[in-house]
């Protein structure tokens, strides 16, 4: 089925392209590029870029409300449809309104709840994370038995042993330092460079309108 090109579609793409170009020029072009700088300054592109950034920041901040509504909708639906473990959805919605109520009554209570509940729970989860990571590292060769996995485990062991402050492991510490400085750093930069390249290409595609996944 052929879909005709509609006005709103073209408008959204046009807005995206123009906003992207303005932002790039406004943020990238300083005062040292001669004519281009003059052009950017003369057209007030920097100001426009700043405005666009602010609009973006505000818009994104407003999506918090959308997220809260979504969260409530999901759990209300779960309750209404009597899905499994709907009890937890009930607890979530009740606690949601409870916290809001407490904050309205006494603003400091929110702080207390955060410190005593949120941080405590997340700290416990962080501790749980330790066990998950240990288990994952311990069982990697069971899930994926390969030279890559063996090498991975070896590096993990060297890094961990090098972190033990015992004089007997001084050599391992030096090996670890070299590992972190050279191959790990190189690999990390390689991955990050690759992602950055791909991000750059994707961004350019958005700038020229090739990437139009945001429209109807």
């Amino acid at each position: 089925m052929r879909r005709s090109t509609n006005f709103w579609s073209i408008l959204s793409v046009a807005i995206t392209i123009s906003a992207g170009i303005i932002t790039v020029l406004g943020l990238l072009v300083g005062d040292q590029l001669g004519l281009l700088s003059t052009l950017v300054t003369g057209l007030g592109i920097r100001t426009q870029a700043t405005i666009l950034l602010r609009i973006a920041a505000i818009t994104i901040a407003l999506t918090l409300f959308i997220g809260i509504l979504n969260l409530l909708a999901v759990h209300v639906e779960r309750i209404v449809t009597r899905r499994s473990n709907a009890f937890y959805s009930v607890a979530l919605i009740l606690s949601f309104f409870l916290v809001i109520g407490m904050y309205v009554v006494q603003r400091a209570s929110g702080f207390v709840i955060l410190q005593n509940l949120q941080i405590s729970i997340e700290s416990a989860l962080a501790a749980l994370l330790l066990f998950a990571l240990v288990y994952g590292a311990a069982t990697i060769t069971r899930r994926r038995r390969s030279l890559t996995s063996i090498w991975f485990v070896g590096v993990v062991l060297i890094v961990l042993i090098g972190a033990i402050p015992l004089g007997e492991f001084a050599v391992v510490t030096q090996v670890r330092d070299w590992l972190l400085t050279v191959p790990v750093n190189a690999g990390a930069r390689g991955i990050l460079l690759g992602i950055a390249l791909a991000t750059l290409v994707a961004g350019v595609r958005v700038l020229i309108g090739l990437e139009r996944s945001y429209r109807e």
Partner: protein
């Protein structure tokens, strides 16, 4: 976004309203493959899918019951024209499915240029003209005109078309179509089949003169008109028809298979006898696999599966049960083999290649049956072999050797406008990847289960799936396409590639799969037992329970062991390893952080960014503690912000633990900055607005204009990205130094930013430990009032930190009231308890939770160093030797240069340094003889730590063991004569040493666990 992955099933070949209606059983062949999409009606798949695309019902045996439905709509030639739009000016009217039926054009008008379309001509006339021109065939035939007598030369099925070009040629306008007439009434411009036609039974595509392949089989993608045609006719379905688009060497389907472009010799050698490309599709034993997106051939299936109605992701194209060794997996195969084995497709090579012959084993179809495709394909050969064979697709699936059909000879037929690599494109561009199989072959090898094995739900889904709109209506933005000419979203999937598949070496069936296979076998054996079959079917269809409730002993054991290892040091057991040093190396990044904060003046503002959450709280809370306390100790005022909402709260919680501070006076909680890097940029430009109110909404009273209003920026980050955001967004636009505290995991990657935006960094708990040791010797400064300026220096008489401390002193007996009687402190052992204060001063009240405040009620300074803003040390005590004529010398005993400080304490600013082994004159010592004022050779005077001096007088040698004290300072234990520290002495980091030992032992145990378990797994698997 990309289009539907199965767009390439050539749904455009389907009839728009295909119904499984056998009511119309006349012998008119099904021309649905000629008809494009006519509307929004949901497409129904033709059950009897034949042909390359499964959509060539004309290949069916016309006398069989499998005859596809033919309706009057079949003869709708709208595919020849765009019913919705007028041809563009100068645009060549598209002919045929691909618009390349140039051979239908009037040869007399065939030119290299696109013919001008006369809108007033009939649609058929235009198409014929264009086809003729493109083919360049000189047939000396005038443009057919339906209105003149020459139309009689046209077959009856072309006659009767209305001359009005505005009207679409509908079936109503055409006479009843009979393909036999097509044969008998061939116009002059169509070659007449002769008796020398190749019999159907021996029809072999090998005999097909590929040199004369019609243009519609080899679309020259260099032409933009094709794209326009597709875009006009099929709109968003252009992606589908691009299957035929020229690839690689620019020729239609040959692009899929051009060995020059996609294969090298080694690849060819690795191929199964069936070869590449379409051959691989058709050969049930091909060692190559299709890309999952290449649904063009997905219904080119085994004759046994012809009766099936495949769903859109069924792949019944080639395999038979006998040939496949593996059943269809119910669940995606878990990756249970090594990654190194992923590239091995040995199991595919074990499949026996079936011979592909061109001969049909079945009854040859009637010679007079119509095969339009073959007929069209044979046109132009001039060999008289033009026939319209009727090939039984059942045989075609196993007999046709498409390799010859789409061999490299096509390269010779490339039009002059053949697409050649652009000058900028290197030759290797065509082979940008490794020549391995790219298709999702692991799925292709699956065999579809018989319909009777499907549950009712799946059957219903299957029925629904057949009626689904298979195409994604990608919006065709001609405007944007014109922006980048020749651009469409059409690209056929990658071709079949030889080589090994990089999924698994061999299929590893899960227990569930084995069970299903056994059930299938049981069904086959219980064919006569309906009840048994039903029971088995239900049990097969039942979803497997996923949640395993049984206890995982391995996880539990690991957790318990690690937990025990972490807890034991808090009870004094297993305290192994060395504590972190008590000093940072000179001029190290860590020392720079300390010095930066130490230079702060009272009243100055410090921007404190807490960019971490609960995940790193255990590591970075200690860092925040030491940094915030140091800032507060210097009398500065931290302004806390973060792009992480949890980070703001964590830092707020840390600062509120410091008693004696007033919010919005002594510290400010600026709030959460939304948007990460964008938010930071905005923050830097709208500082006043974002710091005018605190997190609680109360006014802060700050009137900040720019980041330069801050004296220092301190960032505590858990992620490299957070640190980088500050280094990249904030550092370039301000002159304020930026120091960082970062987690251990991100430390390796932060180093490049040192000296490139970041002035200093401390890493994790270890540096926080050392920092806290340094802070222990630090004396607080008087905090200025609100009217105080940064230049105001505190008074010397009352060196207190905060009012509450002065008001409620709960001082214990001062440690050093009788310094003369104080024995020389000895070196601390590594197991010393961390309850001493380096300077031996009175300890502040217990009300201070997080700071060790050195405060005295009465201070009578007798020594006021010049040019200092730091309170002086306590009353100095003359050196032990009372003989004024005797000068005491000492030598610096250290492995590297030692700082000479303004006062007797680590918190004092260094005024110089002295090299190891240098001889200095000892002038005086402090009360507990831990620090000595010395005079260097250059007459510089200052204080040096006593442990770093070797007195020439043996009686004052404080090192009983004669050990050399290195710069790696180890904390001293308190003099034995000093009173016990106050039990409520506040500690900057509670259980500091225990936590360090717990980390050490925990890491050790984790290393053992990982090593042992992995070795065990390797040994066990190796057996």
């Amino acid at each position: 976004m990309g289009n539907d992955f199965d767009n390439d099933d050539l749904s455009w070949l389907r009839r728009p309203n295909d119904q499984d209606d056998d009511s119309n059983q006349d012998e008119q062949p099904d021309l649905d493959w000629l008809i494009g999409d006519q509307g929004n009606a949901p497409k129904q798949r033709d059950e009897k899918r034949l042909g390359v695309t499964g959509e060539l019902p004309w290949l069916r045996d016309r006398d069989s019951d499998d005859q596809g439905v033919t309706s009057e709509e079949d003869l709708n030639f709208d595919w020849m024209s765009d019913p919705t739009s007028e041809p563009k000016q100068g645009e060549q009217r598209r002919l045929g499915v691909t618009g390349q039926l140039n051979w239908l054009q009037d040869p007399t008008e065939a030119t290299e240029e696109a013919p001008q379309v006369n809108a007033r001509k009939s649609a058929i006339e235009e198409q014929i003209e264009a086809a003729e021109r493109a083919a360049g065939v000189n047939r000396n035939i005038e443009t057919p005109n339906f209105d003149d007598e020459e139309t009689s030369a046209l077959p009856s099925w072309l006659q009767g078309a209305e001359a009005d070009p505005e009207d679409d040629l509908t079936l109503d306008d055409a006479p009843e179509f009979n393909f036999e007439d097509l044969v008998s009434e061939n116009p002059d411009w169509l070659p007449t089949p002769t008796a020398t036609n190749t019999p159907v039974e021996s029809f072999n595509f090998d005999d097909l003169d590929v040199a004369e392949t019609p243009d519609w089989l080899r679309v020259d993608r260099a032409s933009t008109d094709d794209d326009d045609f597709f875009n006009d006719l099929f709109g968003d379905q252009a992606d589908e028809v691009d299957l035929f688009a020229g690839q690689s060497s620019g020729t239609g389907l040959t692009g899929l298979l051009n060995a020059d472009d996609v294969l090298d010799e080694s690849d060819e050698a690795a191929l199964a006898p069936s070869g590449t490309g379409l051959t691989g599709l058709l050969n049930p034993d091909a060692s190559t696999e299709l890309d999952s997106d290449f649904d063009l051939f997905k219904d080119f299936g085994d004759p046994a599966s012809e009766d099936e109605e495949p769903s859109f992701d069924d792949f019944d194209w080639s395999f038979s049960e006998d040939q496949l060794e593996t059943p269809s997996p119910v669940q995606p195969v878990r990756s249970s083999s090594s990654m190194d084995e992923l590239d091995d497709l040995g199991w595919l090579e074990s499949l026996e290649a079936a011979p592909v012959t061109a001969s049909s084993s079945k009854t040859p179809p009637k010679a007079d049956s119509i095969d339009v495709d073959s007929f069209l394909a044979s046109l132009g050969t001039g060999s008289g072999n033009e026939i319209i064979p009727q090939v039984d697709f059942d045989d075609l699936a196993n007999t046709i050797d498409f390799e010859d059909l789409f061999n490299d000879d096509f390269d010779q037929l490339q039009s002059p406008q053949e697409e050649t690599p652009l000058p900028l494109a290197p030759d290797w561009l065509a082979n940008v990847s490794v020549g391995e199989v790219s298709a999702s072959a692991i799925v292709r090898k699956q065999q579809d289960r018989p319909l009777e094995d499907l549950s009712d739900r799946l059957l219903a889904l299957r029925e629904e799936g057949l009626n689904l709109n298979p195409t994604e209506t990608v919006e065709n933005d001609l405007a944007l396409a014109n922006l980048i000419p020749d651009l469409t979203d059409a690209l056929p999937p990658a071709p079949i590639q030889p080589g090994t598949l990089s999924i698994t070496n061999q299929l590893k069936l899960t227990p569930e799969q084995i069970k299903n296979a056994q059930l299938l076998a049981g069904i086959a054996s219980l064919a006569g037992d309906a009840i048994g079959v039903e029971a088995l079917r239900e049990s097969v269809a039942k979803p497997r329970p996923r949640l395993r409730l049984q206890l995982k002993i391995g996880r539990l054991l690991i957790a318990v062991v690690v937990l025990i290892a972490v807890i034991l040091p808090f009870f004094g057991i297993g305290q192994i390893g060395e504590l972190p040093p008590g000093l940072f190396p000179t001029n190290s990044p860590e020392q720079r952080v300390f010095d930066q904060i130490d230079r702060l003046q009272p009243g100055q503002l410090v921007l404190f960014a807490a960019e971490y959450g609960a995940t790193s709280a255990g590591d970075l809370n200690t860092v925040s503690d030491v940094l915030l306390n140091h800032i507060v100790l210097r009398g500065a005022r931290p302004v806390i912000v973060s792009t992480n909402p949890i980070g703001v709260l964590l830092a707020s919680e840390r600062v509120t633990r410091i008693t004696g501070l007033t919010p919005n006076t002594d510290y400010y909680i600026g709030g959460y900055i939304a948007g990460e890097s964008i938010g930071l940029r905005d923050f830097s430009e709208n500082l006043r607005q974002l710091t005018s109110n605190d997190l609680q909404g109360q006014s802060t009273g700050l009137a900040l204009n720019s980041l330069d209003d801050f004296a220092l920026i301190v960032v505590v980050a858990e992620r490299l990205e957070s640190a980088r955001n500050w280094a990249e967004q904030i550092a370039p636009i301000t002159n304020v130094p930026i120091t960082m505290g970062i987690s251990y995991s991100a430390s390796p990657l932060i180093m490049p930013y040192l000296n490139a935006g970041i002035d200093g960094v401390i890493i994790g708990y270890e540096d926080a430990f050392t920092y806290s040791v340094l802070l222990e010797g630090l004396e607080g400064v008087d905090r200025p009032t609100e009217e105080a300026t940064a230049s105001e220096t505190p008074t010397v008489e009352t060196p207190i930190l905060a009012t509450p401390i002065v008001e409620t002193p709960t001082l214990a007996t001062p440690i050093a009231e009788t310094p003369t009687a104080t024995p020389i402190p000895t070196l601390a052992s590594p197991t010393a308890q961390p309850t001493t204060i380096a300077t031996g001063e009175s300890i502040a009240t217990a009300t201070v939770d997080a700071i060790i405040i050195i405060a005295t009620e009465e201070v009578t300074p007798t020594l006021t160093p010049e040019n200092t803003v730091i309170p002086p040390s306590p009353t100095p005590i003359p050196p032990t030797p009372t003989d004024a004529a005797t000068e005491t010398f000492a030598r610096v005993n250290a492995s590297q240069a030692v700082n000479v400080r303004e006062g007797a304490g680590l918190g004092f600013r260094p005024v110089g340094s002295v090299q190891p082994g240098e001889r200095v004159l000892v002038l005086e010592a402090n009360s507990d003889q831990t620090w000595y004022r010395v005079r260097l050779a250059n007459d510089l005077e200052g204080w040096i730590l006593g442990t770093l001096l070797d007195f020439e007088d043996d009686s004052t040698n404080w090192d009983d063991e004669g050990q050399t004290v290195y710069i790696s300072f180890i904390r001293q234990s308190p003099p034995t004569s000093t009173p016990a520290p106050i039990a409520s002495a506040p500690e900057l980091i509670p259980y500091r040493e225990e936590r360090w030992y717990a980390m050490t032992l925990g890491i050790s145990v984790i290393v053992l666990i990982i090593a042992v378990v992995n070795i065990f797994n390797l040994i066990r698997r190796g057996r």
